[in-house]
Amino acid sequence: MTDDRKYGAIIIGGGHNGLVCAGFLARAGQSVLVVEAADRLGGAARNAEIAPGYTAPSCAHILHLLHPRVRAKLKLRRHGLKLAARRMPTVALDPDGNHLTLGGKRITGSVPDEDARSWRRLRKRLLRMAGALHPFLGRTPPRLGGESWQDRLTLARLGLSLRMLGKTEMRDFLRIVNMNAADLLDDELSDDRLKGALAFDAVLGTNFGPRSPGSVLTWLYRLAGEAKGGRRGLAIPEGGMGAVTEALAASALAFGADIRTGTPVRRIVVEGDRATAVELESGTVLRTRAVISSADPKTTFLDLVGPEHLDTGFLRRVRNFRTNGLAAKLNLALDELPEFTGLDRAALGGRLVIAPDIGYVERAFDHSKYGEYSAEPAIEITIPTVHDASLAPGGGHVLSAVVQYAPRDLKGGWDAHRDAFADHAVAAIARYAPGLAERIVERQVLTPADIEREFRITGGHWHHGDLAIDQMLMLRPVPGWAQYEAPVAGLYLCGAGAHPGGGVMGAAGMNAAQRILATRKGEDAA
């Protein structure tokens, strides 16, 4: 067979996972091309100029999950990734100004001694369990009933890792893992602000309220991501979240990858039951040995591959993959630093959370079940300009907020309600920061419907699909296909829809690259 293939692999999508995958493949000597539909790289982890001179994080605004192997192997520091802030504390905002600040195991603010002690114990316990899960974020999930030693080894490791917690703790893990976060918090703590902020962590970016079963697992999962990257804690890169993308792109380019932006893909060409090429919107067909998609599974399979190449059962599962996002993004350009009642300037460099008690978060969630946005939303706020003045013109500031819950399928549609929702979210923040509204130069709101359109993510879900026990590990994105491979040979997934999911972690891209390299080694040997 003559080979006109210029690239050994073509990666669809230049979000962080696509770039990570490209970096790892190029680093191993593969010829790689990344094609990105948008004019700029980064997907949901890029900067956006929301007003002249104001740079806001388009979606993700905190760097806390980035896998340590991604950081190290892709030499991100050398390629310009510097942190403007690290170990940012979390401030649990209180309507009366009696805020609590959580920095690591320490709580400052008026909280009963008993609660401070209980939180230290609970935190230690959860981090140990999360630590047992962490190794699996950086591995290909095992194929159940699989024949390979690698599958058995990974499965055995998972069992061993949990067993190594010790008998008592393993039992505790098994007891709480499918509990709801509210019950666990009520068991251990009494302070409403503390419980509210922690409950919010448990459900951030999920389709859960604190009383939804499984919300302890999503919390542990988040902590697992933080457990090792966690030495740096919650961080904001110098130059904004877009700097992560720039470092990843620089790294991939340095390792020899090619990158083309403004290059949307029309379809993945399947010939003889094998993905053989990528057809661009321009009509150009690029042949390759492997097509790697960082697009979400629905886009990849339903739109780019097409049902005619897929079996009905698989198609069903892909369609049933739950992808409806519930988190909206609000970016405000401000002419000066907002004043939050009871917080000094330094405290504004933290991560501010509006979740004053568990019931508040649960009520916020309730609305989403009925296609409404929260009357009183739970909100995570950062003000990156406190750490990096270059992100706004003289004296100006950027406030970045994740607003929950904002269901993708809003009753009546988002176009009719987007502005009212944004007013609502601003008012919710202004309750803690009087005068906020007067300082707004420009505001940008991205509902899940906007995220879907802007970043080409089905459902506008930050993780490309719910993180819940039935869509995790060997069940992500669908049972039987959690190994980054697809039923069509030569096609791989490397995006957040694959294990271990989203957040700016890069593990999906890294694991996919390792899987592809291992497959190649086998193929080349044979």
């Binding site: 005619e308 009905t312 039923p487």
Partner: protein, 396 residues
């Protein structure tokens, strides 16, 4: 909307019920796809011999029927079924199976190609959700039309003679698996030269409103030819002689099976000839390609068994010691004069020339006795008269 629990739901009556009920002297009824149908009208032997020596009517109205139509109908059928449906011309019928992702058979049935972009799929079990999900991305509509088509199987050596007496022009020239169109007092009638008996025979499809008139006209036309209504027991004997398998009798439909080893692939059912790997992708293709490499686990075979005792539910042994399979359908065939069975064997034993034994249990006046009978793997059908294929159809 009815809210009655299922067990309180009366079984439905077919469009022919008024006639079948009045003729059902034994009052033996069976349950078939939610309908009550006749097991045996008078006497099994009478009905069976009428089928092989004269002509019979069997009410097939409970068959599950799907209409598939639209610009992508052919592409869709080719995706759904394992065989290449592009080769099926309009007004022709084909036997087919369809599989799940694992290449295991969901059901078998017949495909009627009514036009370039219109098909009817006749099935044993219900599959609407599967058929509709398979249609994602295709310009087709899939609808359940089971209740809007009444059906009669007219089978036996005199079946063409009866239709000729109905003055259906050119019916004798209808080829096997062909479709012809007539009318009965203005009601359109579709006749296909198909059946489940392995004999000369036809199936007649009509709007339920015309059902009783069709029955009456056929019975009148067949009165001189010993046209006999038959129940499902006689039909079952004929289909075993014809070597036909039946879903959920000879194998478990893949989506019904609870145990993961029970579903069967087309290869395991001996239906290799229905799988076309060259036509492009179809559901289950990748799994079947893998199976082609590793070989099937089982083979469904025809057995010729020593003696006269039907080997119902018999276990098959090799050398009287090692269990290698089991019988799923069995009978003494009066026409072939052979003791026959359909059996599933572990694949390794399906090529053996000898050494297979059936362990047959016989109840002799409330006393079970066990006998071992030598058996031989033989080709199917067990009974294959030339009239089945002869065109023009003979009067016999």
């Amino acid at each position: 909307m009815t809210t009655k629990p299922l067990y309180q739901e009366p079984l439905l009556e077919t469009p022919f019920h008024a006639r079948t009920a009045s003729l059902n002297q034994t009052n033996e009824w069976g349950r078939w796809a939610g309908y009550t149908t006749v097991n045996c009208y008078t006497d099994l032997a009478t009905e069976y011999f009428a089928l092989r020596h004269a002509a019979t009517l069997f009410d097939v109205s409970p068959m599950i029927k799907y209409r598939i139509a639209g610009a992508d109908a052919e592409r869709y059928m080719n995706r759904l079924l394992t065989r290449d449906i592009r080769k099926l011309k309009p007004d022709r019928v084909a036997y087919a199976v369809w599989c799940n992702d694992d290449g295991k058979v969901l059901d078998d049935g017949t495909v009627f190609r009514l036009g370039e972009s219109e098909f009817l799929l006749y099935a044993q079990e219900r599959h609407l959700a599967w058929l509709q999900d398979s249609a994602i991305g295709y310009d087709v509509t899939v609808e359940d039309v089971s209740e809007s088509i009444a059906g009669l199987a007219l089978q036996g050596p005199l079946s063409a003679t009866v239709l000729k007496a109905m003055a259906f022009d050119g019916i004798a020239d209808l080829k096997p698996f062909g479709i012809a169109r007539y009318d009965v007092s203005g009601t359109p009638l579709t006749v296909s030269r198909t059946g489940f008996t392995g004999d000369l025979g036809y199936e007649l499809w009509i709007d339920p409103d015309g059902a009783l008139e069709l029955w009456d006209r056929l019975m009148a036309a067949g009165s001189l030819h010993r046209l006999t209504p038959i129940g499902s027991q006689a039909l079952n004997l004929a289909r075993i002689e014809a070597g036909f398998i039946q879903t959920n009798s000879d194998f478990v439909a893949a989506d019904h099976a609870v145990r993961p080893t029970r579903p069967r692939s087309p290869f395991e059912l001996g239906l290799d000839w229905l799988v076309d790997f060259d036509k492009g992708h179809f559901v289950g293709r990748r799994a079947l390609l893998r199976e082609r490499e590793t070989g099937p686990r089982y083979r469904l075979v025809g057995l010729d068994i020593e003696g006269r005792k039907p080997a119902h539910d018999a276990l098959i042994y090799h050398g009287k010691a090692r269990q290698v399979g089991m019988v799923t359908s069995a009978m003494w065939s009066p026409t072939a004069k052979r003791n026959i069975a359909l059996a599933t064997l572990d694949a390794a034993w399906a090529e053996r020339e000898d050494g297979l034994w059936a362990e047959i249990y016989v109840n002799k006046e409330i006393k079970w006795e066990k006998t071992a009978a030598r058996c031989r793997i033989v080709a199917r059908p067990f009974f294959d008269p030339p009239r089945r294929r002869a065109t023009p159809a003979p009067d016999c």
